[in-house]
Symmetry: C2
């Protein structure tokens, strides 16, 4: 989830100053509208040291109506607090209905720190996280609106900051020591975010490098969440979750992960032929080795229409013995599948030990086409991220190697391919009215892909975004990724 | 939870034969009504060895429409299954919408057995249980109706059965060895039940001693659950849970825990005076010792109107230094409390280390008066059991000693006391119209108390049901319980 916030996003002073007055006005209005309403807003501000949490809390207090907001900073526990169960301090800090509580530090801090310092084991961290998820779920069921912000500072930015301090002679003695824990902190945080990223209380990761960007983004997220809930009518019936706000392009250009994919690289025919031979040979050997060792593989192929999924899959299967793999193309579900939970149709196709299943489109349809086309309700797709992460975690825990590819092409390249398909007789079957319809919803799909990659790009089952404007380059990238991950797994 | 199913419940052959035809007809009708509906029914049959699970599965198959039900027995895992993630075998066994799946054995079996045999640690058990709770929650959100039955065989019955087998020379070599694990099995099972006893997928514990009773009860529970859901209209909106069926008096006499309380014991004045002195002296000493050791106590007093809560509390506080305790009387919540989650008002009154809070009525109001009077919706009170258990677990984990008392009196005794209150001038303020109204709902309250004691009677925070027809006896019983538990804790 954190990698999705390493895009180098920033907001210029001009844009910030131009857009801020409108944001502040809307935010204040939303806050005033909250007053008569019967739900509390719990706003959690978390993230790495030095990511600007304190500044953000300041800013939010500046923007909101001071009579309806309270900030609770959780520093060292008091004697009063230590004498009671750990959650006592959080209960006393909860905002009442119609109010916003800004939690600066929260129930997440201690479990993460304890694990980073090695004071607790992974099972203990997980228990603590499950307790948190239950706790939040309980408040959500009671009507609370959760906005959970995680300010993420990329490694190299953190390092740059320390270097600068060092040059200026302002480095504190432990600063480099703490920096050494960066990777561990990121890993533990990622786990914490994933396990508590629920439909009712989702996480929002914000790239924290640029002050204007992070503060404007935080304000926008809070506004969207408030507005969505306020406009949804009266407080939802008990037990019914409020839909989280729809993902939106944020302020600032290039805010999409997809915009950051370099689509220019190409391979010559000769280079392609050479690498294809090498990679396929390597994959073939590794696949047999995996079979021997009873390791299974699951590949997921998603991408824009005409991005070249089919032909890429063929370059993978060419390297595999036909006895070892199966390609499962996902179209509309059968009657039997429709009678089950949406994940059921994927569970049934899981490979036996030592075999491979290749999914041509997959369970991600839930958060892509079903979300964009409205086939799944907001409650359904918004809880699917966590369900999918848990599903994939079960696969990986069992030893399955999971590879997920998103084939990225530009809108212009898609148009070129669509037109080619219309003119080349043997390709004409590949292009339908639906493809043209989907193309019109490019931005909606883009937002959905962004959120999918951000929330389901896990350390155990990462997304690989493939630059696919050049099919040859894409195929080699895919083969290489598979070979590398399989080699590492074996 | 299990102790609530040790009441010696049974059903005579006559009653069984008289009532069965109607039950079967209604059950079959409900099953036929299910066919067009868009939700699956997952019926889990679990419990101790020899509790008649197999027989029950047989019976249910006899009673239901064979075209709409499938039984899945989980025995040893197949090679096919072992080669996939553990939940694969369960996914393939899930019933489709409009169908009933009877799971004979389930995802609960392995985690419980592994823990009983000491192959896993408690944290691992908890992780497995949390995964199960999430899994069920996911299916519930998708519309599934869960009916989870636990057949409980009291220890002495199990022993009697083995003795009989031994006498008949039919004892298997390991039978006594397994019996030695009885307590451990009960303890682990109780933990499993508690952590997965959710609003959307609650457990129903059935006393399994008598075949007719357990089968009739199981059929009734299934019928009630089906009927409640079928009659609630079309499948609930996504993300909205179906309300679980209301608790009902089950078939068979004396099915209530409260009916089994012996209300006859009395104390003479002399005996009372002697014991009161002894117990209060002991409590006084122990309270100071607890204060020294920084151990806190939380007492909960609940009971029928006029059961004598106030005077019992006074006998406890007489033994305590006034600096050490606080009595919190729970009436209607304040505005500030109403603006928060219902547990908030109790969290705020938790004692500091070494002190005691006595709650005169408590958080159990949620599942008693609020449930019976309809102040809380079915979604609210049905998820409260788990919320309360988690709350109390947090207290106990922190070292707080939790004592919960239900003061039980007979309806006749209540009437006598009401009348006395009306005639004795200085007691008249104690009796209101509301008391008379509540009295009319005796049976509803009784059902709610039963469910409360069954679902929130945990090993770490047990309920003590106090025979309170004789006030003197009740007070001594309460003092003794507190002294014993405090002594054990110190």
């Amino acid at each position: 989830m954190l990698a999705s916030a390493e895009l180098g996003q920033s907001l210029s002073r001009q844009s910030y100053e131009a857009e801020l007055p409108a944001l502040r006005a809307k935010l204040l209005q939303a806050h005033l509208d909250l007053r008569g309403r019967k739900f509390p807003v719990v706003l959690i501000v978390s993230g790495a040291d030095g990511s600007g949490k304190g500044e953000l809390v300041h800013r939010l207090n500046e923007w909101l109506d001071p009579r309806g907001v309270e900030t609770q900073a959780f520093w060292a526990t008091s004697e009063e607090e230590r004498e009671r169960p750990p959650f006592w301090r959080f209960w006393r800090a909860l905002p009442g209905r119609g109010r916003i509580g800004i939690l600066f530090g929260s129930w997440y801090t201690q479990p993460i720190i304890s694990r980073v310092c090695g004071e607790t084991k992974r099972d203990e961290l997980d228990s603590a996280l499950d307790r948190i998820a239950n706790f939040e779920q309980m408040l959500v069921a009671d009507g609370a609106l959760f906005v959970k912000l995680w300010l993420h500072l990329p490694r190299k930015i953190q390092k740059k900051r320390l270097r600068k301090l060092e040059d200026e002679g302002r480095l504190a003695p432990d600063d480099w020591k703490h920096f050494k824990l960066y990777d561990r902190f990121a890993k533990v945080s990622e786990r914490a975010l994933r396990r508590t990223d629920t439909g009712g209380a989702p996480w929002q990761v914000i790239e924290a490098t640029d002050r204007r960007f992070r503060e404007f983004t935080a304000g926008t997220i809070l506004l969207d969440a408030l507005r969505a809930r306020l406009d949804a009518g009266p407080a939802p019936a008990v037990g019914k979750r409020a839909p989280p706000p729809a993902a939106k392009p944020r302020a600032g250009a290039k805010s999409s992960i997809l915009d950051h994919v370099d689509l220019t690289p190409r391979l010559t025919d000769a280079e392609y032929a050479r690498q294809l031979d090498n990679q396929q040979a390597a994959l073939s050997k590794l696949a047999w080795a995996a079979h021997e060792k009873k390791r299974s593989m699951v590949f997921v192929f998603e991408g824009w229409d005409a991005a070249g999924k089919g032909s890429a899959i063929r370059r993978v299967t060419q390297a595999l013995d036909p006895r070892l793999y199966r390609v499962v193309g996902i179209a509309a579900p059968t009657d039997e599948e429709r009678a089950q939970h949406y994940l059921w149709r994927f569970w049934r196709h899981l490979p036996r030990a030592g075999f491979t299943t290749i999914f041509d489109r997959s369970w991600y349809g839930r958060v892509l086409v079903e979300r964009v086309e409205g086939f799944a309700g907001v409650g359904e797709w918004s809880r699917a991220y966590r369900e999918i992460n848990e599903f994939e975690e079960e696969l990986v825990e069992h030893g399955v190697v999971v590879n997920k590819f998103w084939l990225q092409i530009s809108q212009a390249e898609q148009l070129r391919r669509f037109k080619e398909r219309q003119t080349v007789a043997y390709k004409r079957y590949k292009i339908t009215e639906e493809d043209w319809r989907n193309r019109k919803q490019w931005d909606d799909y883009k937002g959905a892909v962004d959120e999918m990659v951000a929330r389901c790009g896990t350390e155990f089952a990462p997304w690989t975004i493939v630059a696919a404007n050049d099919k040859k380059f894409a195929r080699i990238q895919i083969l290489k990724t598979i070979v590398d991950r399989l080699r590492a797994a074996l």
